[in-house]
Symmetry: C2
Subunit: 371 residues, 2 copies
Amino acid sequence: MAFPRLGVIGAGQLARMMVAPATELGISLRLLAQDPTDSAAQICDHFIGNPTDAEAVLNFARTCDVVTFEHEQVPQSVIKNLENNGIKVYPRSDSFIYSQNKVEMRKKMDELGLPNPRWQHYSGGNVEISYPLIAKTITGGYDGRGVFVIKNEGELLDLHNDIGQPLLLEEKLTFDSEIAIMVARSPHGQAATWAATWTVQDGGICTSTITPVPDVSEEIATAATKIALNIAQGISLVGVMAVELFKVGDSLIVNELAMRPHNSGHWTIEGSRTSQFEQHIRAVLDLPLGDTSLTSQWVVMGNILGGEKNDMYRPYLHLMARTPGLKFHHYRKDVRPGRKIGHVTLLGDDLVELRNEVQHALDYLSGAVDE
Amino acid sequence: MAFPRLGVIGAGQLARMMVAPATELGISLRLLAQDPTDSAAQICDHFIGNPTDAEAVLNFARTCDVVTFEHEQVPQSVIKNLENNGIKVYPRSDSFIYSQNKVEMRKKMDELGLPNPRWQHYSGGNVEISYPLIAKTITGGYDGRGVFVIKNEGELLDLHNDIGQPLLLEEKLTFDSEIAIMVARSPHGQAATWAATWTVQDGGICTSTITPVPDVSEEIATAATKIALNIAQGISLVGVMAVELFKVGDSLIVNELAMRPHNSGHWTIEGSRTSQFEQHIRAVLDLPLGDTSLTSQWVVMGNILGGEKNDMYRPYLHLMARTPGLKFHHYRKDVRPGRKIGHVTLLGDDLVELRNEVQHALDYLSGAVDE
């Protein structure tokens, strides 16, 4: 057995963050990029091709021993074409569908007896959920895109008309917080979770994460772990998956699934003995999974969103001097307002101080505080 | 200020391990490799050229904002040529000389009042050190190469004749252990050390390291730190440096200097908040240095030396299942007997268990224990 070549469809920051653990493990990584300036294509062997082009993806996949994804925008037909041609591709199409199609996901959660909000597949007709409700495009949404708060029937009809596709309707929950938990599973069926994370949101965008979730009971933390493991087994996951949950009182409700390394698991790079990126590589190669223990009492991750500043290098002089333990991750993407262009992570025992330092770094990087 | 391009002369495993922190910091790394199959050239932007070719090195350096080294085999004349052409190159030639020339190093330690063994620059004539003694080639030695135990005058004359160059003679110390300490310093003069490491040796080759050094007093640990900081300042170091020391009773004696990331600091990748590789990048770019705290009570690193096995991938199945916390670093170099082809690191509280697990991994990888 030689060191395998792992193909990744996509070349954004998630693929970029796979480069380090692949290098450490001796795994050759090859990307299907859309452009040579893509975040990961800048630093990794790649082909140029469109992930929706079945022929291009197959040609790429034939140069790899195993193929995986860093985003959900690969059509089912393209994945099935790989499978029909004998390519080892993980997660498999019949698992991946649950992170691509929100109605299939809701049905599956019901089937597994896992906590859904009230939901309805809507293509006109009676609405069984009371207003205000949440309407979602069934495919293609992420980071708050494709999610709409609907106050009345008129708004719903307008949206349905605009989108021109059926919608998923969900009850609008009044939740205490949003929690995410990462889980990994290998073809052998070995599974592992990490500590659950509080994903702090602003306008549907995750701005920071705190791990482990502060102020939740042992029962809630255990319940989150069980839900993640049940889904992983129930959908025959291979790779890592983020399970996003709403905490409502003492209950958890499944919000979304993302079947790939995910922003809510970036803290694992420094905060766990095995990062989500290393674990994803281990899982899709069917290697035994790594230790997911925390390396610190608290781990705070903050997303760097594009702001007024274009220069992301000069702030190092101040931030590294102020907070010597702060770890930077720059994706080398063009700065655009609101775009995730990097993240910072800080570990330690004093959660208040960690949150203050991370917030200062984010404000400083965005230009919200002066130099 | 844009993200700078950092040039590294050399493309072995040390350059390979710089790729991950450079990527995280958004720094573009470019290597001067001798061959496209070099360990780091496999995964990083590179030029092909000989590090002894002043013109090739200058042409390479002109494409970079700052240049550094991953080995000591770059002639002083080549470095001075860069400096004379206005290239920012670190460490500077007048610092780097102390890791290239062992006689200059001994003189400097004397000048700084730091503990040398008895030593003599020998080009024939009287020998002032009693036999058995250690003879070293003045330049070019590493990993026990260029170091000879000399029992009598006859052996010395033969060696001197064979080498055809002056030698450095040193008293043969009876030492308790070998200790290494990594230190970093920036052009601003900011300096930082990591915890001192016990470098366990076998036949002049470091086989494993244990950090922090077990069974030494606070005084010895502090003395090691002071020596490292004194040397760093005394030679105007820029970058990271390994200071190798002999522990003789309650004293420390300076053995060798290596002015680059070093095998005795590989443990810092997982074992410290800031690795030697990230710190080297920060230092040569004159960025504030990172936190060097330990991430665990004990850190054990073991070198994977080429043995009977050629297949370095298959052992993952057993080793990852047995020791989920074991971190692997494969350099993707051809397996040759005795050659360093990778390393493993394990962190935890129980030093005996950590050492056992690392030793098992090394034995298994070398073929010394059956599958």
